[in-house]
């Protein structure tokens, strides 16, 4: 382990990698701070630009954006009641009331510090878990990976509470999109309608750029122009770290929820935040303050969401299974750079894995230092008029799609998905199931095929302990959902909080 760690540090300390890390982390904060441009948009646009870079350089650049956007996203959530990224939605509940009380600086500082604590705890967990992962990952054969991907699909559908049916149909649409083109084994055409441009299939990056970037550009260009004017009082940003120290229990448990929910594919930040926020409220001495400017609520929300990215790398690196849209994009980056995540990665390239972990650690340190000195400047970035932002995303979206393979057809497809993405966003329907359907659908197809020669009867499929465990986990979560549905039938529930979260998931 130590050898791999030292080798990993050696890989990381090249000027190109460090520069990419710095640009990624600072860029991520800036992107996160602008409402309307999430990390998904930025990663989708930058993906093709990283193709020509060294694997570790390209990956650290995108990892920087992935890991730091939520820090920036807390700023507009607290100051103008608009989350910079979707997962900062819960931060508005307590952050904005604090701003209204004249405690904006305290809230921002607290949010940064809680985010930092959450991220560091998560990365430490990831590093400590690595030897165990290296041990367990080889136990995952084709059928286990198939079942884990299936569990991911089931969870991503069920996690969209209140929108399960829509999430189901969109996930299935994603699976279908992945099958379009030539079947890689039988070489027969599937849903090509004799159109040559469909024979090569539908590229994931084209769909991602359409659904995330172009749809956002269209939306911003059509909607009324606005330019918020956030203000923040002067003062030190370091006080938050001390204050988080007085909420150790909430920060620790919330980070734990973040780690746990990040590891489980398809669940992610929203569930982690719900669990930690509910826990914090239930165990608080002042539960009545939650939603009205409670520092504990703010800590719970920010520590939980920032603990997820590092933990979400666990199923991605160990099994090659992405748990949400951003890790799905990261997976395509890995593939492009010829790094195949999965059990072999831990056995053959453990130093590379450690380099990624240390990169995550460094990026969090870089971000917190950057934020201590730049918060005032970031409030100016939030002021960018929304239509101007839409214009820039459209221009950037072109680079993303066109530079893939200079295909007009790809651009037309991306524009089509842009319109679809806009409709889904307006209807408050989730976009993520389409992406995960495409990625996990592809994994399921390949793994099911490769596992079948060794399976004589359906029971053989779950004869191995991990396969059986995953199978029963799938049955359990479906059963749990059905039980919840029937319980909700008898008890009228107030879903206003859930409603707000789903609404902002689309931004």
């Amino acid at each position: 382990m130590i050898e791999s760690l030292i080798s990993g540090i050696g890989l990381l300390f090249q000027w190109q990698v460090l520069l990419a890390l710095l640009i990624g982390s600072v860029g991520g904060v800036v992107i996160g701070a602008i409402p309307g441009v999430g990390p998904a948009v930025a990663i989708a646009i930058l993906l093709p630009a990283t193709f020509s870079m060294e694997p570790l350089v390209g990956l650290t650049l995108l990892l920087g954006i992935y890991g730091s956007a939520m820090y920036g996203g807390a700023l507009p959530a607290i100051l103008i009641n608009t989350p910079g990224t979707a997962v900062n939605a819960l931060t508005t509940y307590d952050g904005y009331p604090m701003t209204q009380r004249g405690e904006g600086r305290r809230a921002v500082s607290l949010a940064y510090s809680a985010s930092f604590v959450g991220a560091i705890i998560s990365i430490v967990c990831l590093i400590l878990l690595s030897p165990l992962l290296a041990l367990v990952a080889p136990m995952f054969g084709s059928r286990e990976i198939f079942l884990a991907a299936l569990l991911g699909i089931v969870l991503v559908i069920l996690a969209h509470r209140g929108q399960v049916l829509a999430a189901g149909m969109l996930a299935c649409f994603g699976i279908l999109l992945n099958t379009v083109g030539l079947d890689p084994v039988t070489y027969t055409k599937r849903y090509t309608f004799d159109q040559s441009w469909l024979t090569s299939g539908v590229d994931l990056i084209v769909v991602v750029l359409g659904l995330f970037a172009l749809s956002q550009a269209f939306l911003l260009l059509i909607e009324k122009d606005s330019s918020p004017k956030p203000e923040i009082e002067k003062g030190s940003m370091l006080s938050g770290l001390r204050e988080v120290g007085s909420h150790k229990r909430v920060a620790g448990v919330s980070s734990g929820f973040g780690v746990l929910m990040g590891i489980i594919p398809g669940v992610g930040e929203f569930t982690a935040q719900f669990l930690s926020y509910t826990y914090a409220q239930k165990t608080s001495k002042t539960p009545e303050l939650f939603g009205k400017g409670s520092p504990e609520g703010l800590v719970a929300s920010e520590a939980a969401n920032n603990a997820v990215p590092a933990a979400a790398m666990i199923p991605l690196l160990a099994l090659g299974i992405p748990g949400e849209a951003l890790t799905a994009m990261m997976l395509s980056v890995f593939y492009v750079h010829n790094v195949i995540p999965g059990p072999q990665l831990f056995q053959n390239q453990l130093d590379f894995v450690y380099a990624l972990y240390i990169a995550m650690l460094l990026l969090n340190v870089a971000v917190i230092i950057f934020l201590m000195f730049s918060t005032k400047a970031l409030t100016h970035i939030i002021r960018v008029p929304t239509r101007f932002l839409g214009l820039l995303i459209l221009i950037l979206g072109f680079v993303g799609v066109y530079s893939l393979r200079n295909s007009v057809t790809d651009c037309a497809m991306a524009a089509g998905f842009g319109v679809l993405g806009l409709v889904l966003k307006r209807l408050n329907l989730p976009v993520v199931p389409i992406i995960l359907g495409m990625v996990l659908g592809g994994i399921m197809e390949v793994k099911l095929r490769s596992s079948m020669p060794r399976v004589k009867s359906p029971i053989d499929f779950i004869e191995r302990p991990i396969a059986a465990l995953l199978f029963f986990a799938i049955i359990f979560v479906i059963g749990l959902h059905i039980r919840t549905l029937f319980r909700e039938q008898h008890a009228s529930t107030d879903g206003s909080r859930d409603h707000d979260l789903h609404d902002t998931q689309q931004r």
Partner: protein, 181 residues
């Protein structure tokens, strides 16, 4: 009794809706059913082959799932109370087509007039279309476009071909433009 059952179903299918929901639900259902009718024509089924090894297995699962979920989604929409503003919302969706066309015009013009010129032109025109008239905003949009070209094409060297008009430039300038813009 009938009303009770309806209420129960409404709770079962309760979700957070927006105007125009039923239009999308029906359109998606019709699209899914149409895809299902195309299944045998658009995929191949080999006799005597294993079910999961069939090329049509995953499309069948996907389209079957789409029809299943879209049917229930549509039932949910039909049973929910109507939200006013349905057609206004559909009109909003169609407004996005205009910007999709702007995007396609951009795509078509780049290989002819070159990345730099078309980007600057597009930024200026889109800024005007977005309602900006001040010199500051128009300049900002052009500078923004220029920076995008410099960062992506000149520095990161992404694959965007030179414009056909570059052929008419003097040799030295042409190779410079082809490499950097």
């Amino acid at each position: 009794m009938q009303q009770d059952r309806m209420a129960t179903l409404q709770v079962l299918f309760k979700r957070y809706r927006r105007p125009g929901d039923i239009v999308f639900a029906l359109a998606f259902l019709i699209f899914s059913i149409w895809l299902l009718t195309q299944l045998s024509a658009q995929t191949t089924w080999k006799p005597n082959g294993k079910l999961v090894a069939q090329a049509s297995f995953w499309p069948m699962i996907a389209v079957g799932g789409m029809v299943f979920f879209a049917s229930l989604h549509t039932v949910g929409s039909l049973l929910s109370r109507r939200i006013l503003g349905r057609w206004k919302e559909v009109g909003f969706w169609f407004r996005s087509v205009e910007y999709a066309l702007w995007f396609m015009a951009y795509v078509m013009l780049v290989p002819i007039l070159g990345y730099l010129f078309v980007t600057l032109l597009m930024c200026l025109l889109l800024a005007l279309r977005a309602g900006y008239r001040s010199r500051k905003m128009l300049m900002a949009s052009v500078v923004g476009g220029f920076l995008v070209v410099v960062i992506f094409k000149s520095l990161l060297q992404v694959k965007v071909p030179g414009g056909q008009v570059y052929e008419y430039l003097p040799t030295a300038l042409r190779s410079f433009m082809l490499t950097f813009f």
